[in-house]
Amino acid sequence: MEKMIAQMNVLVNEEGYLTDFTQWNKEIGDELAGEHNIVLTTRHWEVIDYIQGEYKRESPLSIRKIGKSGVVDIKEFYALFPAGPLKTATKIAGVPKPASCI
């Protein structure tokens, strides 16, 4: 389905995740973060960069992997993106929701 985010018409799935990463830009990231009451700081953007990098390398994400990324530890990850950090961070980053259980 289509959704208007940051004056852009983008394709999203029923959970609001972008289905075409090429449509993503930083303004869209900011607005999606706002929907989760998050104001993005430099730290958030570093994590988002990392997540997008992993997505481009087709490397699946998990909480364990985030913790070993060297970019952020698990505690800070939860503090930056409260209430389901992996789900929220991937949504803001414009990449698919990870299907990981760990």
Binding site: S62, I63, R64, K65, G67, D73, I74, K75, Y78, P82, A83, G84, P85, L86, K87, S100, C101, I102
Partner: protein, 160 residues
């Protein structure tokens, strides 16, 4: 319409066994709750205490006897070395799935905000002290304390 629509807000997970398959089931459930933004607390009682015992947690085994799903006759499962064999096979499969070991899993859960409680009665029964246990434990509490922790709308309790 109330703000609460019956969604799960908190998982209270009681672990009473320390065979590897039960420990992992409990850990995945607790950690998975946090990943969904659901609060999670664990209560380790009876043999479940082994999962947070500093010297024992890394030597837990898969149960090969009394487990029909192993598709192994009980007599065979009871032979020396069978438990160790089944355990190393399971650990290898879990590593492929990027599953952490028991201690690292506890670290991940703590960092994710899972509260870890040891059962006071079981601690006394096994003559364990807090010093014997995982250092980052939230405390040693009674069953009554654990019920109090579970108060609130949308809290669910699970016994493993």
């Amino acid at each position: 319409m109330s703000e609460f629509n019956g969604e799960i807000r908190k998982m209270m997970i009681i672990l009473s066994k320390a065979s590897l398959e039960n420990v992992y089931a409990a850990f995945v459930l607790a950690n998975g709750a946090r990943m969904e933004g659901i609060e999670a607390e664990m209560f380790f009682t009876f043999f479940g205490l082994e999962a947070i015992h500093d010297k024992k947690m890394e030597h837990l085994h898969v149960a090969t006897v009394g487990n029909p799903a192993m598709h192994m006759p009980t007599m065979i499962g009871g032979l020396p070395g069978m438990e160790a064999l089944a355990t190393s096979m399971m650990k290898r499969e879990m590593e492929k799935l990027d599953m952490p070991g028991v201690r690292e899993f506890l670290d991940i859960m703590k960092a994710s905000g899972v509260k870890l409680w040891a059962c006071k009665l079981a601690m006394e029964m096994f003559h364990y002290t807090k010093e014997d246990m995982y250092a980052d434990l939230d405390g040693v509490i009674t069953v009554g304390d654990f019920y109090k922790q579970g108060a609130g709308v949308g809290a669910h309790m699970l016994f493993i």
